[in-house]
């Protein structure tokens, strides 16, 4: 019995709907599992809408549109095809399989063909069975005076001296946005929970931590924002990419999902399932799939180069095929419950492998495993290292050098590393070892470095863009021709800013992750 199958049908209002209506009028036996949603154009169903259906428990999704030449709006079918391709890529990575997502076009007179297609699709989903995704959703919360008071107290908001150093350092405020950490702290301290400072602005914060660095009273503002977001109803309009990545992360909390994270691993890389050292990749394969048509970015290269770097030192780490997102962005966008689900799942799988050390090349994974997991009561039981720590220790043993690289470089610090002294020093020790033509710091660097404009896929707007443009101008001012990064998000966000058709010539710059730079130029002496 497949009566409980759920198939969502997005049906374009034009050609296919006419065919569908003919079927309805003639009382044709349409599969009962199909729930039809009439839409204006197949091109309007974004990747996030397609995926949202899967996140909330759909067993199959069909998108039906018009023939490419017959689209009423010209490009709808083409856009739909792109969205379908990308979403199918994501479904494959998750192990859900692209067969669960159907896409076809029908002319108004093709009602017989449409019926045959829908019946065949229902049968296909029947064979595949129920989805392994368990709809997780975000818990309903509402901010009470008591919870706000507790959060403020936990992060020293009441000791705020109202000096405003935070707001004068905040990169978002300096870009011109009507945003003030000081005003948010004041509103919280005054218990003014309905003010826009609380309702709206907590979702704009980058949580980059520059204000905390400058605060004379040590108000832990990023952590305050994080906890406030967790205690406040979700603000969907602040989700970047229409919440696609939040959906993706929530879908990954389902334990039964047969994720195929390392499917694209190049054959030259050596791994060993018995190794006590695990390399944790992070979400790069999903980013590359999602942004394939938009930015053509390849952040997976960083993961492969990290593995190559480990292989160079004769370390063959284990990898976790069923690896999930670390959950960093869920926690920092206010969904603690699902963050904890992901964290438990990851730690359980990793502990089962007998891993003693986890190495990652992503600063957010590093922060999540080393700080956010323990702070949320999840004991890891294994050592967490950044690939830079491992590289520094291995290179420090000696007999290793670097090939000459005739590039002038500068460095974009990732916020999740650069707010600690070691996090500032670690990449710089490595950068100084490289044999490049020149290494010049940007005006704002190290502990004062600027965020790439976004965090946790939340609150992207024109001010984020302005920040990114400013940052890239700083990078160009150093005279460098290669911008070295250390976080996949920095690369995605800065690449996005470079798409600006008016400023392109002023800000375009080649980027490369420090991990890749190390792996590509390292050699035995």
């Amino acid at each position: 019995m497949n009566d409980d199958l759920k198939i969502v049908l997005f049906l374009c209002n034009w050609s296919p709907h006419a065919a569908y209506q003919t079927l309805q009028d003639s009382l044709a036996p349409l599969p009962v599992e199909i729930r039809m949603i009439r839409i204006p154009c197949s091109g309007r169903i974004t990747k996030s809408l397609l995926f949202k259906a899967f996140e909330t428990g759909a067993d199959g999704v069909v998108l039906l549109g018009c023939e490419a030449g017959a689209c009423r709006y010209g490009i709808g079918t083409r856009v739909a095809q792109r969205n379908i391709d990308d979403t199918r890529g994501i479904l494959n990575l998750l192990g859900l399989g692209e067969q669960r997502l159907g896409f076809e076009s029908f002319n108004p007179d093709q009602h017989q063909e449409l019926l045959a297609y829908l019946t065949a699709f229902r049968n296909r989903i029947g064979e595949l069975g129920k989805t392994p995704v368990v709809a997780a959703g975000r818990a309903e919360v509402s901010l009470s005076a008591r919870s706000a008071d507790e959060i403020s107290r936990a992060h020293n908001v009441y000791v705020c001296q109202d000096c405003g150093k935070c707001s004068s350092a905040c990169p978002l405020a300096l870009t011109g946005k009507q945003f003030s950490p000081r005003a948010i702290a004041n509103a919280a301290a005054a218990g003014d929970l309905d003010s826009p400072a609380i309702r709206e602005d907590i979702w704009s914060c980058l949580t980059c931590g520059l204000c905390y660095d400058r605060c004379p009273s040590a108000v832990s503002f990023p952590d305050f924002i994080k906890d406030m977001r967790c205690a406040t109803p979700a603000n969907a309009k602040m989700n970047a990419h229409e919440g696609f990545f939040h959906s993706l992360m929530r879908a990954m909390t389902s334990p039964g999902l047969p994720v195929r994270h390392w499917e694209g691993l190049p054959s030259d890389i050596q791994t060993d399932p018995e190794s006590k050292i695990l390399f944790f990749g992070g979400c790069a394969p999903y980013f590359d799939t999602f942004f394939k048509n938009h930015l053509g970015i390849s952040t997976s290269e960083t993961l492969f180069d990290a593995l190559r770097l480990m292989n160079f030192f004769d370390i063959r780490p284990s990898i976790l095929q069923n690896e999930r997102c670390c959950g960093h962005d869920l926690l920092w966008s206010g969904d603690r419950e699902n963050f904890i689900r992901l964290a438990r799942l990851n730690v359980e799988m990793i502990s089962d492998m007998g891993v003693e050390e986890l190495v990652t090349a992503c600063p957010e994974c590093y922060r999540a495993f080393s700080r956010d997991y323990p702070e949320n009561g999840i004991k890891t039981g294994f050592k967490v290292s950044h690939i830079f720590e491992l590289a520094e220790a291995e290179i420090g043993k000696g007999a290793v050098g670097f090939k000459k690289l005739n590039r002038k470089i500068t460095f974009q610090d990732p916020c999740r590393l650069s707010r600690t002294e070691e996090g500032v020093q670690l990449p710089r020790n490595l950068l100084k070892r490289l044999k490049v033509a020149d290494f010049t710091e940007m005006r704002d660097h190290g502990a004062s470095s600027l965020c790439c404009g976004n965090c946790a896929w939340t609150g992207c707007d024109s001010y984020s863009k302005a920040m990114q443009v400013n940052r890239l101008k700083q990078a160009r001012q150093t005279g460098a021709n290669l911008l070295v990064t250390a976080c996949p998000k920095c690369r995605i966000h800065l690449t996005c800013a470079m798409e600006d058709p008016f400023l392109e010539n002023e800000i375009r710059m080649e980027m490369m992750d420090l991990t890749s730079l190390l792996a590509k130029t390292i050699e035995w002496e």
Partner: protein
């Protein structure tokens, strides 16, 4: 197994102590025979001094080094004075900042920045311990465990931790250098086959 080891350097560099540490490790930990002779005198005021060590699994009948399997030089003058003692295909290990000119020899040569590494660790006088770490990893004359306990027993009380860190630094460098040499040889071999 029989190894003749000659360590040379300047008075004050801890040459004699280095020889003693090696010998102790060979005797007490590895249960081998060892003989140790040191030359001092005017050298103690600067100039070349040496420690001569023979490690063997059989009785040692004559205590002086005649054909060194391993020659460790921590100063230019020490190198000049003793370089002819190195046997054919013997291993030459020099402090690369103290011994500036090395003539080509038939065996392996290892330049080691022992003094510089000791300085980076905070105490220049630990260069001899760095060097011992290096000798342990590249020559296999004594065991690592034996050397660790021997170093800890021989250095002044309270400095064990820093000295062991210095030893490990030298040991790691030795391992890395051996690895680098094998990797490079393999790469050379590969490119030759392809070419």
């Amino acid at each position: 197994m029989r190894k003749e080891i000659l360590i040379t350097g300047l008075g004050g560099q801890g040459i004699v102590l280095a020889g003693q540490v090696l010998g102790l490790a060979a005797c007490l930990a590895d249960h081998l025979e060892a003989s140790f002779t040191q030359s001092y005198g005017p050298e103690a005021r600067g100039g070349a001094c040496s420690a001569q060590l023979i490690i063997s699994d059989a009785k040692i009948h004559y205590p002086y080094v005649r054909n060194a399997d391993i020659l460790v030089c921590m100063s230019q003058s020490g190198y000049e004075k003793y370089r002819n003692m190195l046997k054919h295909e013997g291993t030459l290990i020099v402090d690369q900042d103290m011994v500036r000119s090395v003539e080509s020899v038939s065996g392996d040569v290892f330049p080691v920045p022992a003094t510089r590494m000791a300085e980076e660790l905070g105490r220049k006088m630990m260069a001899n311990i760095v060097m011992l770490g290096f000798v342990t990893s590249v020559t296999e004359a004594v065991s690592l465990e034996g050397m660790l306990s021997s170093v800890a027993d021989s250095v002044p009380k309270g400095t064990e931790k820093t000295n062991l860190a210095a030893f490990n630094k030298g040991y790691d460098l030795g391992r890395a250098m051996l690895k680098a040499r094998t990797k490079k040889a393999a790469a050379k071999h590969e490119s030759k086959e392809q070419g």
